[in-house]
């Protein structure tokens, strides 16, 4: 059972950012995820290391959000100099936030971290068929929301 930490670091980092919306804390949580993953090493189901990794990440984020002094933080501006691009990204993220949470997660895993449907199925426990269906629905939903913002001209 082996995961290339180097390869997955950025993806887990992004995933935590997706949940927590603070870059520094997201990275802390990502590092915590890897440390937990390593500690559990020998006892884990050999088939699904990736699913296990994401599960730990998810739980780590949830635990963090449960902390008493947790407050929804405002989004940080991501590395980008172009003001229009910043706007566009913000718009898209807000659009995604309007989706039901399970669809949000699928959209993220599929289009941001570009995981295979099979892996996503292992991570979320949802069937491949359902995933494809929900993704389609999510995209339609996004298109609807974004049309209002003149996304597609």
């Amino acid at each position: 059972m082996s995961i290339d930490i180097n390869a997955h670091y950025d993806c887990i980092y992004k995933y935590c950012y997706f949940k927590i919306k603070n870059l520094h804390i997201a990275e802390d949580l990502a590092q915590e995820t890897f440390l937990k993953f390593i500690k559990q090493g020998s006892y884990v189901d050999r088939d699904k290391p990736l699913a296990y990794l994401y599960t730990i990440a998810k739980n780590t984020c949830i635990d963090y959000m449960r902390k008493p002094n947790y407050a929804e933080l405002t989004e940080e501006i991501l590395a980008e100099n172009d003001f229009e691009k910043i706007e566009l990204k913000r718009v898209i993220r807000e659009a995604i936030d309007t989706l039901p949470s399970d669809e949000q997660e699928l959209v993220f895993l599929r289009y941001v971290n570009e995981l295979k449907i099979g892996d996503i199925a292992k991570i979320t426990g949802v069937s491949r068929f359902s995933i494809n269906r929900k993704l389609k629905k999510a995209l339609e939903g996004l298109k609807l929301v974004l049309r209002e913002e003149d996304f597609f001209e």
């Binding site: 950025d10 992004k14 870059l23 440390l35 898209i92 993220r93 995209l139 597609f152």
Partner: protein
């Protein structure tokens, strides 16, 4: 570009984050959980070359087959009694494996790890020694089935050459501190083996020739000698005093 594709690309870039400058340090400084001595012991089993076990098994099987296919006429007892002459080579094989660190110039590095050289050698010896011991017991039982001698005499047959070779090999390893140590150990094994054969040819059954008491004293002396040399050897692994040729 169709709408879907554009959307997907924009979704991806919406979550782009700046490159982390903590990543490299994190990867370099990753702390790893440790194992205990028992787990270490088990982990070393796979680093003992399989062929060692295989060779020992083959030699033992040959001995056993020889034994079983010969009937107990007095003529054939001579052949059977040659079998213990194979025992020094069991020891040689083990000695070669134990001294691998020396042969391949790994001693310096292995002295600086958590489970250091002395422990590594003890573990290897324990693993190989246990297996070897089991083989020797098998031989003893097989001999018992075929020969009329007492268990005591048969044990002497087996353990005296064994301990004598062990003693000789350890003495050599304590004295010869370079990569040629295996050649000298081979010399010891060949000598003991030859001595066994020659003495046997000369005296018929040397263990009955001299009094049992003599052999028992020798046995105890050898055990003590082996323990002393073994201790000396282990203690010597704490200091770097090998010459790499």
């Amino acid at each position: 570009m169709n709408k879907d594709k554009k959307l997907k690309l924009e979704i991806k870039s919406a979550y782009e984050i700046p490159e982390s400058n903590r990543k490299k340090d994190f990867l370099i400084n990753l702390e790893i959980p440790k194992i205990n001595f028992y787990e270490f012991f088990i982990s070393q089993i796979k680093y003992i070359r399989k062929r060692i076990f295989f060779i020992q098994l083959v030699v033992m099987l040959i001995c056993l087959i020889t034994l079983l296919s010969i009937d107990s006429t007095s003529l054939n007892i001579k052949y059977i009694s040659i079998l213990p002459s194979a025992i020094p080579f069991f020891v040689l094989i083990i000695a070669t494996e134990i001294s691998r660190s020396i042969s391949y110039n790994m001693t310096e590095l292995e002295m600086t790890t958590k489970y250091s050289l002395g422990q590594i050698i003890i573990v290897r010896t324990a693993i190989l020694g246990s297996v070897n011991f089991i083989f020797l017991i098998f031989l003893l039982i097989s001999l018992k089935l075929k020969l009329e001698y007492s268990t005591l005499i048969l044990s002497l047959y087996i353990f005296i050459p064994f301990l004598l070779t062990c003693f000789g090999s350890l003495y050599v390893m304590n004295y010869i501190r370079n990569k040629n140590v295996n050649f000298y150990c081979a010399g010891v094994s060949i000598s003991v083996s030859l001595a066994n054969i020659l003495l046997y040819n000369a005296t018929g059954n040397m263990y009955n020739y001299l009094s049992v008491k003599f052999w028992l004293i020798l046995l105890v002396a050898l055990i003590v000698g082996v323990i002393i040399q073994a201790k000396k050897f282990i203690r010597s692994t704490e200091e770097y005093n090998w010459n790499s040729l």
